[in-house]
């Protein structure tokens, strides 16, 4: 196993244990969509579009009391090392599902009965943590589409690499490390809407990991707010943490 962690506690890409990779979020990048966003999260490059609320076809899918949320997480063929077949893989189908379940609690779907809201997540380039980056960007795109929301959803993984609990696992750390735990968090409701784990953690490590992931989500949340403010308030003031949108 390659040394993923130096003696000084520096990770393979130069970060410390509690540091995020560089993040860039843009809002409103696609003309046709009702809401859209673009995120770079480490080497992840992801574009998200939201269409809706809109009429449902076929009509029998409509619900009388709320909107139906549909999600698709999809990777472009050239987004990974080995060219990927464009047809949806089992992994993409699972991530589409857990992404929908991570976003759903943040949306006030009751405000849009008999409609559908479509979220399309397209991974242009993939790195470790693409599901978290996708959820983060999707939440911003939903806000950009003007959908009523209880909260944003900010997502970030923590994990165990070279024996230490660290924040925001990249691709190499995911492959060589001991554990990866993606978390999605609703910062104002203080609720977790996504939790997965691959790899082994003791009960103590698990708690440490969870707390670290939540602190990462709070950092991501601030970047989401900044990106939205930058689009919607011309004097792009960096939003304080205690403001509500």
């Amino acid at each position: 196993m390659s040394r993923l962690m130096s003696e000084e506690g520096i990770r393979i890409d130069g970060r410390r244990w509690n540091e995020l990779r560089p993040v860039k979020i843009e809002v409103g990048v696609l003309k046709n969509a009702d809401g859209s966003s673009y995120i770079e999260f480490g080497k992840n490059k992801i574009v998200v579009a939201v269409y809706g609320p809109k009429e449902v076809h076929p009509k029998h899918m409509a619900l009388p009391d709320r909107s139906v949320l549909r999600c698709r997480y999809h990777m472009l063929p050239f987004s990974v090392e080995e060219r990927k077949n464009p047809a949806p893989s089992r992994r993409e189908i699972e991530i589409s599902k857990i992404t929908r379940e991570a976003l759903e609690p943040a949306l006030i779907l009751e405000d849009y009965p008999r409609t559908v809201i479509d979220v399309f997540i397209e991974v242009l380039q993939s790195d470790g943590g693409s599901r978290c980056a996708g959820i983060t960007a999707a939440s911003v795109a939903l806000a950009d589409a003007g959908i009523n929301m209880r909260d944003l959803v900010a997502a970030c993984a923590a994990g165990k690499v070279g024996g230490r609990i660290v924040l925001d696992i990249n691709d190499e750390e995911d492959k060589m490390g001991e554990a990866d735990m993606p978390v999605a968090y609703l910062p104002n409701l203080k609720q977790i809407s996504l939790l997965q784990l691959d790899g082994k953690l003791t009960a103590d490590e698990y708690r440490e990991c969870l707390n670290l992931a939540i602190s990462g989500c709070m950092q991501v949340y601030n970047m989401q707010r900044e990106a939205l403010m930058k689009k919607y308030f011309s004097t792009a003031d960096k939003g304080g943490e205690d403001e509500e949108e």
């Binding site: 899918m61 619900l63 139906v68 949320l69 549909r70 999600c71 698709r72 089992r90 992994r91 189908i93 699972e94 589409s96 599902k97 857990i98 992404t99 929908r100 379940e101 759903e104 609690p105 479509d118 735990m181 609703l186 409701l189 203080k190 609720q191 977790i192 809407s193 996504l194 939790l195 997965q196 784990l197 691959d198 790899g199 082994k200 953690l201 003791t202 009960a203 698990y206 708690r207 969870l210 707390n211 939540i214």
Partner: protein
């Protein structure tokens, strides 16, 4: 695209009733909040499979079969055998199941069970190499749900675990780079037994081993698998609700303590061939 299954009015009414009961620490079927339904495991039913197990968890019934083939390893893992896990909810399992390729629920089910087995390193894949880089054992675990009454995750996981524990695979001798199948069969190399524990959140209560009726009313679901050292090795949250950080700590404690007690039961049941 992923989309939520619809809930009916009846389910919503039932949810109110269930919440009231749960506030008094009671469940519709009389169980305590941390109680599992009765578990039965029958192994070895399918002679044409290398291993098999029929699991009943209350009214939930699943059958797992193990088939072992010789295959080439992945180029980047020349010294590892292969483990492939598939699940399908047969159309006879419930009035809502339909024929066709696995839907997102069945795919999630297979992947979560796979994750618990893989991440716990239950199977010593490095001992499934016949000729390094060329020939390895490929272990297929296929699970079919026969009757669906909630908590497919644990029932499926127990069935695969029991089938793997009791599987016998052909031994191969290598002569001049050619494989010769011997008469002898050997068990799979096993490191640990992972135990999956699935919980549901309904209102403020966390219950273990939800029935289909409880799942229809739940806010969220969580599955945790632990290994013999009490380490958590796989988690999957499901459902459109959320958990608080405190609930997630409680849930981990439940998974670890129940996991320990169920591991013994499952090893014993699986051993009774």
């Amino acid at each position: 695209m992923s989309v939520k299954k619809t809930t009916t009015i009846v389910e919503q009414l039932r949810r109110a009733q269930m919440s009231e009961l749960l506030a008094m620490n009671k469940r519709l079927d009389g169980r305590g909040l941390r109680d599992y339904r009765e578990l039965r495991i029958d192994v070895g039913l399918i002679k044409k499979a290398n291993g098999s197990a029929l699991v009943s968890l209350g009214n939930t019934q699943v059958i797992a079969g193990i088939k072992v083939e010789v295959d080439e390893p992945f180029p980047d893992m020349p010294d590892k055998g292969l483990f492939i896990c598939n699940a399908e909810v047969l159309p006879l399992a419930s009035p809502y199941a339909e024929p066709g390729p696995p839907d997102e629920d069945a795919i999630e089910l297979a992947r979560v069970v796979d994750r618990g087995i893989r991440e716990s390193e239950m199977i010593a894949l490095d001992k499934l190499v016949i000729i390094s880089g060329k020939k390895v054992y490929a272990v297929f675990a296929d699970v079919s749900v026969l009757n669906s009454d909630g908590n497919l995750f644990d029932a499926t996981s127990y069935a695969v675990v029991a089938a793997l524990l009791t599987a016998r695979i052909p031994k191969y001798d290598v002569q001049n780079e050619m494989l010769v199948k011997s008469e002898e069969t050997i068990p799979l190399p096993i490191n640990t037994i992972p135990i999956s524990v699935t919980m549901a959140k309904i209102g403020d209560s966390i219950i273990v081993d939800p029935t289909a009726e409880e799942e229809a009313c739940m806010d969220a679901r969580i599955t945790m698998a632990t290994d013999e050292h009490g380490r958590i090795c796989a988690i999957q949250k499901g459902g459109s609700g959320t958990f608080s950080p405190e609930q997630l700590t409680e849930i981990a404690n439940i998974a670890i303590s129940i996991g320990k007690e169920r591991r013994e039961k499952i090893s014993n049941l699986a051993a009774r061939e």
